[in-house]
Amino acid sequence: MPLIPATIIAVMLFFAAFAPVVAPSPPNKGSLKEALRPPAWSQGGSWRYPLGTDYAGRDILSRVIYGARVSLSLAALSIPMGVLLGVSLGVVAGYFGGWADIFIMRLVDAALSMPGILLAMVLAGVFGASFLNLVIIIAMVSWPGYARISRGETLSVRERDFVGLARVAGCSTPHILVRHILPNIINSIVVLATLMVGSVILLEAALSFLGIGIRPPTPTWGGMLNEARGYITKAWWLAVFPGAAIAVTVLSINLFGDWLRDRLDPKLRQV
């Protein structure tokens, strides 16, 4: 188990779950008198605001801690949704073959050749970026990957003896799909889903940064970076810490995902 990445992920999850307890102050509380204070260790900083304050005098550390909530909960909801959609279609395509396969896989190819960020931007722009909308949008952008992997895996599992025996024994098709196919392809899906968490966090951050994600004043890492743009020459800490939170989290998740892949599904390495 890669210790450092796993610890960082655990800390971020802890932050997300217990933000009100961990954060030194409420994320949206600030006074203009305290605006744009530098981090504690630079001149003019104070340990009341370890990472400094933003233009409204809000504590950066607290907002970064609260920002973990949005990023991680969005990933936690949108990934299962994308997996459910992608795996259902992929298994159906792989198991039944024929027209279902052709139709679903052409759909997957088409969806994969659309630039995800652009699609997400337009959907968020048209429908508005509530939390629920973003969950749905991200799921819509990420399902094709799961569909492609689960179809490929289903194709090979389908030919194995136990599936044929189950059919002979009179098991219904839904039973075969859920009880015999699914457990045998689940490892690859788990690995891919883990590796996708990083991309989902980056996508959400990009949308918030562009101003079409979750609305302020809800603290999000991308949104904080967007707000930093107006003060960029005066206050470097506004641009550094939220971005570092994104980079460290995504890096840890990717390292963890790589480890999981090597353990569970070495085949995926070549993908």
Partner: protein, 307 residues
């Protein structure tokens, strides 16, 4: 081979149609497309005109047919904000985006190929590990954050380069680095593994045994043969660069396609957004197609692998 190419071509056309269908559906999911197109402040006369031009009182398949017909005639709607064709608005911004993506591409190659080659030659040394860290970081740091850091430190504190806008060559450097960072990481990693494969092959051993100077073995024999997978990846990255430019342009106030798209989303100038999606998706699809075709010629084995 011809069958494969024909298949790919048909698939690309299907994909474009799918994109158009998605655009068509999105506009209608929201309710009245004429209202989406015109936004809140509309006068009844224009509203009626738009409803007519979109065939909104006809059955849905007639609407889709009319929409397709217009798109293929190059009519992507009319920018309500700028009062001229949406396609014209997009195309006028296109050179700026192309310039940015081109510079980023050049930067990423300049950085990635030497890094990858050196890491492969000095396998398992500190260089190699350095490359691994660079590649991992490249995939974890969001483009827009790299951009902001460059603005804060290079443009702000050091005052070396302009922080934004489009002007002389100096305006291009920071955006190109920010945008090229991500593909550079991927290209460097692949260059390294492709080089390792080639360095292990018999003809390289043979060249060494023959006494060919090491520099020549590496730069002439090995790099050339490691190029095939790298070229493909580069092709795929071009499409990625164009969509990555959407975000980078916003960071550096670079007046390209991405910038105008975001402005249009905010301004609810929906015809321009629609034109942007169609145009960028078409480029994306065309780039993928070209890569596949070029690749088949470079390495016929690929068509079995990529299925």
């Amino acid at each position: 081979m011809q069958r494969y190419l024909l298949g790919r071509l048909v698939q690309s056309i299907f994909t474009i149609l799918f994109v158009l269908l998605v655009v068509f559906v999105i506009v209608r999911l929201k309710g009245d497309p004429a209202a989406v197109m015109l936004g809140e402040n509309r006068d009844p006369e224009t509203y009626a005109a738009v409803r007519r031009s979109l065939h909104l009182d006809d059955p849905i398949h007639v609407q889709f047919g009319a929409f397709l017909g217009k798109v293929f005639r190059g009519d992507l709607g009319y920018s309500w904000y700028q009062r001229r064709p949406a396609l014209e608005v997009m195309l006028e911004r296109f050179p700026a985006t192309l310039q940015l993506a081109g510079a980023a591409f050049f930067f990423s190659l300049l950085l990635a190929i030497p890094l990858g080659v050196v890491a492969a030659i000095k396998r398992d040394t500190i260089y190699d590990r350095g490359l691994k860290i660079f590649a991992l970081l490249g995939q974890a740091m969001p483009t827009f954050w790299v951009g902001l850091l460059l603005i804060v430190f290079v443009a702000g504190y050091l005052g070396l380069l302009p922080a934004g806008g489009r002007g002389g060559p100096s305006h291009l450097i920071l955006p190109a680095i920010a945008l090229g960072w991500f593909p550079a990481a991927a290209i460097a990693r692949l260059t390294r593994s492709a080089m390792l494969d080639v360095l292990d092959s018999d003809f390289i051993k043979m060249a060494r045994v023959k006494g060919v100077p090491e520099q020549m073995v590496i730069w002439k024999h090995a790099v050339k043969n490691a190029a095939i997978p790298v070229v493909t990846l580069m092709g795929l990255q071009i499409a990625g660069l164009l969509s990555g430019a959407v975000v980078t342009e916003q960071v550096f106030a670079w007046p390209g396609v991405g910038w105008i798209t975001i402005q249009s989303i905010f301004g609810r100038d929906f015809p321009v957004v629609q034109a942007a999606v169609i145009l960028l998706a078409a480029i994306h699809i065309a780039a993928n197609l070209v890569v596949d075709i070029v690749y088949v010629y470079l390495d016929p084995r690929v068509r079995y692998l990529r299925r």
